[in-house]
Amino acid sequence: MDKTVVDLTAALADIEDGMVLMIGGFGGAGAPIELIHALIDRFKATGSPGKLTVVNNNAGNGRIGIAAMIDAGMVAKMICSFPRSSDPRAFTEKYLAGEIGLELVPQGTLAERIRAGGAGIPAFYTPTSYGTDLAEGKPVAEFEGRAYVQERWLKADVALLKAELADRHGNLTYRKAARNFSPLMAAAAGLTVVQATKVVEPDEIDPEAVITPGIFVNRVVEVADARQEEALMRDGVAYA
């Protein structure tokens, strides 16, 4: 078995207009910047993929990554918990102009909806958001004397993730706190595409160290010199 592909272009094949994309990362930790920028390149060259729904904790920062996707005009809607950052201009401008949609989801609910999507659980009950504006229109039920809100699974057409090591079977490890949403998103997407800092042979990751098992991964591309979002921000890089 070999899930590696030759380059970013091959990794991003089959991503079409109107798809739901889960993008890993919390702030810059785990953000697959090179996959995102290659997708922007494709959009600029061909006009596709556009009208995307993007799932991430945030809604981009500065002029790189998801913010650059928004600036490029590829994103119709964000599903996130915190569409603010140190430089949230890209999302804020389009949101206030009514040019981008927002589904605001509490952070833990966002994580659990993605987990449920990957686990085949269509809905679950959580205490989070009970009695608040974010529970409006959702079924409520009482368990052991306490009220809970029903939330539904969240699935995606594609997940774009960043890993530290990937073997050719797609088994993944992540660096430090960079895993955040990625193990959940890997399972919740129909097509999971991973940029790994290093691709290794199937016997080179200790099975005890695997964080995301390869069954959840479809394509792996090596990006050895991956850049960090914060480092790019500090260097004043603008991608869009």
Partner: protein
Amino acid sequence: MSDKLSNAQIAWRAAQDIENEAYVNLGIGFPEMVAKFQPPGRQAIFHTENGILNFGESPAEGEEDWDLINAGKKAVTLKPGAAFFNHAESFAMVRGGHLDVAILGAYEVAENGDLANWSTGPKGVPAVGGAMDLVHGAKRVAVITDHVTRDGRPKLVKRCSLPLTGVGCVTRVYTSLAVIDIEGGRFVLREKLPGLSLDALQAVTGAELLLAGTVADLVVPEV
């Protein structure tokens, strides 16, 4: 002593109630200061929503590792015995009742324990983050806040007027003037600044303060 506590002093007072080896989540911003004021000999284990237990202070400038950040996206360091985990596990720790203490900021706290701390109304871009999760599950949910808004209106109120973060979730409030518990849907005054009369405190509080036994002096060092 000045007529009210500084933010650092409020954080200091809240830190005195955190037990040794407690698992604690501090909200981003002002509540993060609480970590600096742990009493000698006590070591809490801090949780951050993005997936670290037992993180420590910020590294020196230039030493940052941007894969090692907290929920506020600031670079942090690890202490011995730290652990990484994914977001679903992180919020299982939150909602599943595994944290001993969560400390958050507030726009308003109501006497029934309702908290409003995520939205000041329909203007601008709404953002909630983990606040709505954090108010459920921690054994104690405490708020640290100035006693009044910038224009002098009470932040401790009968019922919240701003969009709620959670219903009946707050158990204790540390303010710039007092320490107040929420019990049975009422504010119970535990401590107040020694120079402040009960009437003066009540005048800047939006719901009745009950007294249960002695009210202790709220004495905090300059920090």
